[in-house]
Amino acid sequence: MKVRVTITLKAGVLDPQGKAIEGALRGLGFAGIDGARQGKIVDLTLAETDKDKARATVADMCEKLLANTVIENYDIAILG
């Protein structure tokens, strides 16, 4: 089973990389940008076939390693 974990910075946490991206986009002439936040994606391939079990395992992985919940949120999507 393929599972996609999307990790994003929590609201209110300064994201200097997002700010730099926003500035560069403005520099390219893109108008109307109200913000840019950078995150990361981890794609996992698991032997598990049960979606609920896979989701629970990946949530555990997020809490223990993939995300730093002090500053980051995570979202788990089963890709099939």
Partner: protein, 223 residues
């Protein structure tokens, strides 16, 4: 004072730390590989600076889950003093031994220079050799030293005197909240700091301002 320095793949300030500990305490520290599940019985465990695991995922994230760190956590709970410098500070926050997180420097640039540090609290096992409010010189070299904590955690750190060092005289090099350069855990036996006291301990370094930290730990053990 017996000490141990934990070596991770990508540590690069371990030699400096070993030299500093040897110079101040007169006893050569034991270097422990991060895969060793049991650390020797020592008075001080040090996590040195560097770029463990190439800063993959997040700085210190993978090192924080190594077998040696489980024993560091056990020993920290039992009261053994633990010092994390630079990447070592990042590893301590990732391991949950210190609150908050270290984020990318606010200006996005790697900084390698000397800053001024205020000894915010000198009533700790790591800072007793300094005077309260004393400003010392200390080098920094990092890309992710921008300390962040939620408002409640921050209020607790400040209220309980757990900010040991603060960047002084406008030298905050990374955007750290409240100019925080180093913090203690609740029990006061774990210190994490971004600056490198081990790099200012002998004449060839150009000064001795970092010695006080190691002398403080040694004195606290003798007391």
């Amino acid at each position: 004072m017996r000490s141990a320095v934990v070596l991770f793949p990508g540590s690069n300030r371990d030699h400096d730390m070993v030299k500093a500990l040897h110079s101040v305490t007169g006893i050569k520290p034991t270097v422990v590989w991060h895969q060793d599940a049991t650390l020797p019985d020592v008075d001080l465990i040090v996590l040195p600076g560097g770029f463990s695991y190439g800063d993959y995922l997040r700085c210190g994230a993978i090192a924080a889950r190594s077998p040696a760190m489980l024993d560091v956590a056990r020993k920290a709970k039992a009261g053994v003093r633990v010092l994390g410098v630079c990447n070592g500070f990042q590893i301590l926050t990732e391991a949950g031994l210190l609150p908050g997180a270290l984020m990318r420097n606010a200006h996005l640039r790697f900084v390698c220079k000397e800053v001024k540090l205020e000894v915010t609290n000198n009533d700790t096992d790591f800072t007793r050799a300094y005077a309260k409010g004393q400003v010392i010189r200390c080098p920094v070299a990092h890309h992710d030293g921008n300390y962040f904590a939620d408002p409640e955690t921050l209020a607790r750190l400040e209220g309980d005197g757990r900010v040991a060092f603060r960047y002084a005289e406008g030298t905050n090099p990374n955007g750290s909240i409240n100019d925080i350069a180093g913090i203690l855990n609740e029990a006061g036996n774990v210190l994490g700091m971004m600056p490198h006291p081990e790099n200012l301990i002998e004449a060839l370094h150009g000064g001795f301002d970092g010695r006080g930290l190691f002398e403080s730990v040694a004195t606290s053990l003798a007391a």
